[in-house]
């Protein structure tokens, strides 16, 4: 029966080629633009570390002194060095790391100075974020405690400095000091760079990783937000009234997360008792997806474009409804004859829907081509996320689901009208 309807639909679509082409074009345009913007949304709002995103938590506290505390303010993103070191010392999470972004000038093999992005952190950083290593190994907690002059460098910096060879054991010259390379990263594609969104949300990983304690000894420059209250000499001193360190904890089970939250509350209460402030403090413990959501990683322009494209798809669908209606009602006499010969309303309805679905599938194929072009266009836009936009299998399937469902939706009303035609009048009227 479906085969028969399929043949009927083919005949009908062939009869009025211009109208058919118009419908296919309309659906293709709507699907193409919608899928382009949905792909961008899909990539940008995706989970950067799906295997662990529910176990990694960003720790934030508001432990400002009373004169800098305002109830209702957002809990600040970063911690003071004093609080970060206290939490690291307690080590109540399964793993934990404090970190800051920085930059340093290293010497290339040709003797040219290179300015590279750096991250100063703890040993736990690497296992916590599943950082892959091509050569060597990451540093240990003992290296953190011993202020070891070691560094892990990125694959691209290794390529630039050592031509991609195993550089473990070689020296990395930083100004007039040097660090011993103990590890080289493999391909680490972490986008958005969720662990620190303050220095560009998308982009390659940093080029040099150094223990935080060593970086502080070497007085390497940090970058990112540093916020101080009160006057002080160095913002990075152990007791400086400045927030500048990001803090992450890995908590493997929901029960541990609850216990950790309780621990942080106790910590804040202790600080209050010690006389740092009199307010009750604030606490925020968010997993990766909650954190990304709170920081609004998806640019507002992208959301706007998505709604615009969906609105456009709506207009295309209304257009298709109108054209299908015209097409079906024009065949009133043919449908009337079928009804007079005994076809039920249901079969007329089905026949019309199959015709609409076929238009949708063809429109989907062309829409996919347009969406491919659209993604190509997005990749050439001057945005920091452009290079990471790509279409995956799920979006490919979603394209056809969207095309088929929207064309069937568009076909419902015209098919309903077509099956309501009274056979006698339909035959006579022509």
């Amino acid at each position: 029966m479906f085969g028969y309807y399929f043949n009927l639909a083919m005949l009908s679509l062939k009869r009025n080629k211009v109208l058919t082409a118009l419908m296919v074009l309309t659906i293709a345009l709507g699907i193409g633009t919608s899928m382009t913007t949905l792909t961008v949304m899909h990539v940008l709002s995706g989970d950067p570390i799906p295997q662990k995103s529910a176990q990694l938590f960003r720790v934030r506290m508001n432990v400002f002194p009373d004169d800098a505390f305002k109830r209702g303010d957002r809990v600040p993103d970063n911690l003071t060095r004093r609080d970060a070191e206290a939490l690291l010392h307690d080590a109540r999470g399964d793993r934990q790391a404090a970190m800051s972004a920085g930059s340093m000038v290293v010497m290339s093999a040709q003797g040219d100075p290179l300015n590279v992005e750096a991250r100063y952190t703890n040993a736990d950083f690497f296992p916590m974020f599943d950082v892959p290593l091509r050569y060597g190994h990451a540093w240990s907690r003992g290296d953190d405690a011993g202020h070891a002059h070691v560094a892990v460098i990125s694959g691209s910096l290794n390529e630039q400095l050592f031509g991609g060879a195993d550089s473990v054991g070689k020296a990395l010259l930083v100004g007039d000091q040097s660090l011993r390379i103990i590890g080289v990263l493999g391909d680490w594609d972490m986008n958005p760079r969720f662990y620190d969104l303050s220095n560009g949300q998308f982009g390659d990983s940093e080029d040099v990783f150094v223990p935080l304690s060593t970086a502080l000894d070497m007085k390497l420059p940090t970058s990112g937000q540093t916020w101080c209250w009160g006057n002080n000499g160095n913002a990075h001193d152990a007791n400086a009234p400045c927030i500048w360190l990001q803090y992450w904890a890995q908590l493997d089970t929901p029960a541990k997360a609850v216990a950790y939250r309780q621990y942080l509350q106790n910590y804040i209460a202790l600080q209050q008792k010690a006389g740092r402030f009199t307010h009750s403090g604030q606490l925020e413990l968010q997993d990766v997806m909650q954190w990304l959501d709170a920081k609004g990683v998806v640019p507002s322009d992208v959301r706007l474009q998505m709604w615009l494209a969906l609105g456009f798809l709506g207009i295309c669908l209304i257009n298709t409804v109108g054209l299908l209606l015209a097409k079906f009602l024009r065949r009133g006499s043919e449908l009337g004859v079928r009804r007079a010969l005994g076809a039920s309303r249901r079969s007329i309805f089905l026949q019309c829907l199959i015709e609409a679905g076929m238009v949708g599938m063809v429109g989907g194929v062309f829409g996919l081509v347009l969406a491919g072009l659209g993604v190509l266009l997005v990749r050439h836009q001057p945005t920091d996320y452009a290079a990471y936009i790509h279409m995956d299998l799920r979006m490919l399937l979603a394209t056809f689901v969207l095309a088929l469902s929207s064309s069937l939706l568009a076909g419902l009303l015209p098919a309903w009208r077509a099956m309501q035609l009274s056979p006698a009048i339909a035959i006579k009227s022509n």
Binding site: L19, L22, L25, T26, L29, G30, T33, S103, V105, P113, L114, N115, G175, N231, G233, S300, D301, R303, L304, Q305, L308, A309, G311, F312, G314, I315, C316, I318, N319, V321, G322, L323, L325, A326, K327, R330, Q381, P382, T383, L413, R417, N430
Partner: protein, 402 residues
């Protein structure tokens, strides 16, 4: 032209009429808002910096120790000034559209920091090279240019220039001349007001023009960023040479390629995403109007085909070709008008939603008549083809069966 028969005929095609009208309504709502967003982006891109952009460029280097600052400044300023075509070189903290250098809150009472401004620091001659226009007060004297002490990022006290916008913000209705303001321990007295001087941030909105120029001597934190002035025709060549020359004057520092550009290039890069968004919106508008026109063509053709016999009868009993043509044109005009009325309401609803989620002002009323005219024009263009085909139907059709 009688409208009544058209309305009666349309009542027979309620659904199709309604669909076309809805399509027009949605198109009207999206069209008005999309054009409005484009206009907003374009006006943000036309921001006035108040400086001679076409003559200015910036060279940024990093990777030197603070103790080398004075030596580096001397080498860089002498080396860059030696490039043929360079009119002047000055040590500055930043230039408009360059990297943000000094953004800080200012206070008048040491308690409330309600205003965040851009601090520009520059040596003597910077103001003249920028081409800033003084509207009140005086320029800093030679004595006003002081050295920045160790570990400070600004001179601790100075006589400064502020923009008109900042003066109006801090002391509305009063003369700003002689007034004091503070950022933490740093204190400044206003001696002059400039018309425009846009901050490096330039994100639009009010903050872009809240800036102050602080005079200082090169050295300390005032090192590594240089403002180059050259003849506009020579600027790009001078910048290319300057980027190359840095390697010979200061082989031990790192040139920031991205920011070492002429201001026109930095300006273009700054607004690149806005331009891309405007381009994308224009694309959507074009596709939208195209699809709407195709819908009208499709349905009008269907109606013409359906009414061939009736058209023939009308022609046989005396209607002219013009009558038939006008019938379809009027019919289209009525449907589009109906759509526009709903579309105007929708446009305001959409605008209200956009205002809630994005920084977008109210949709000005004059967008509505313009949108209406555009859609009426589109409707008439789209219906012209089918209407002409209808007018070409010969009266003899009336005498044929089927």
């Amino acid at each position: 032209m009688h409208i009544r028969p058209i309305l009666v005929a349309l009542r027979k095609h309620k659904l199709a009429t309604f669909l076309i009208a809805m399509e027009i309504a949605l198109a009207c709502a999206v069209l008005c808002n999309a054009v409005f967003i484009i206009a907003n982006r374009l006006s943000a891109m036309n921001i006035v910096t108040g400086v001679d952009e076409a003559s200015l460029g910036e060279i940024v280097v990093t990777g030197f120790e603070p103790k080398e600052a004075s030596d580096l400044n001397a080498r860089m300023i002498a080396g860059l000034a030696a490039i043929p075509g360079v009119e002047s070189v000055h040590a500055v903290s930043s230039v408009p559209f360059g990297p943000q250098a000094g953004v800080a809150g200012v206070t008048l009472d040491h308690k409330h920091y309600g205003t965040v401004i851009d601090y520009y620091v520059g040596d003597s001659g910077t103001i003249k090279a920028l081409g800033l226009e003084l509207v009140a007060g005086a320029m800093p004297d030679a004595d006003d240019y002081q050295a920045i002490p160790d570990k400070a990022w600004l001179p601790p006290s100075a006589r400064v220039l502020v923009t008109r916008a900042l003066a109006d913000r801090l002391w509305p209705g009063e003369s700003p001349l002689g007034k004091m303001f503070w950022t933490g321990p740093y204190q400044y007295r206003v001696i002059g007001v400039v018309a425009n001087f846009m901050g490096a941030a330039a994100n639009g909105g009010g903050r872009a023009e809240w800036s102050a120029f602080v005079p200082a001597l090169p050295g300390g934190t005032l090192a590594g960023t240089y403002q180059i002035r050259a003849n506009p025709q020579d600027l790009e060549r001078v910048m290319t040479e300057a980027r190359k020359t840095v390697a010979t004057i200061a082989p031990d520092v790192v040139l920031d390629h991205e920011n070492s550009q002429s201001i026109p290039v930095l300006r273009a890069a700054h607004f690149a995403t806005d331009r891309a968004m405007a381009g994308m919106l224009i694309g959507v508008i074009a596709a939208l109007l195209g699809v709407t026109a195709l819908g009208i063509v499709g349905l009008a053709s269907f109606w013409v085909a359906q009414r061939r016999k009736q058209i023939g009868i009308r022609r046989a009993i005396g209607a002219t070709r013009g009558d038939i043509l006008r019938y379809f044109q009027t019919e289209n005009f009525l449907i589009v008008t109906f759509g526009i009325v709903i579309g105007m309401l929708l446009a305001f609803v959409l605008n209200a939603v956009l205002m809630k989620f994005y920084e977008l002002p109210h949709l000005p009323l004059y967008y509505l008549p313009i949108g209406a005219l555009a859609l009426w024009g589109l409707g008439q263009l789209a219906v012209l083809g089918p209407a002409l085909r209808a007018a070409a139907v010969p009266p003899v059709v009336a005498t044929r069966s089927v």
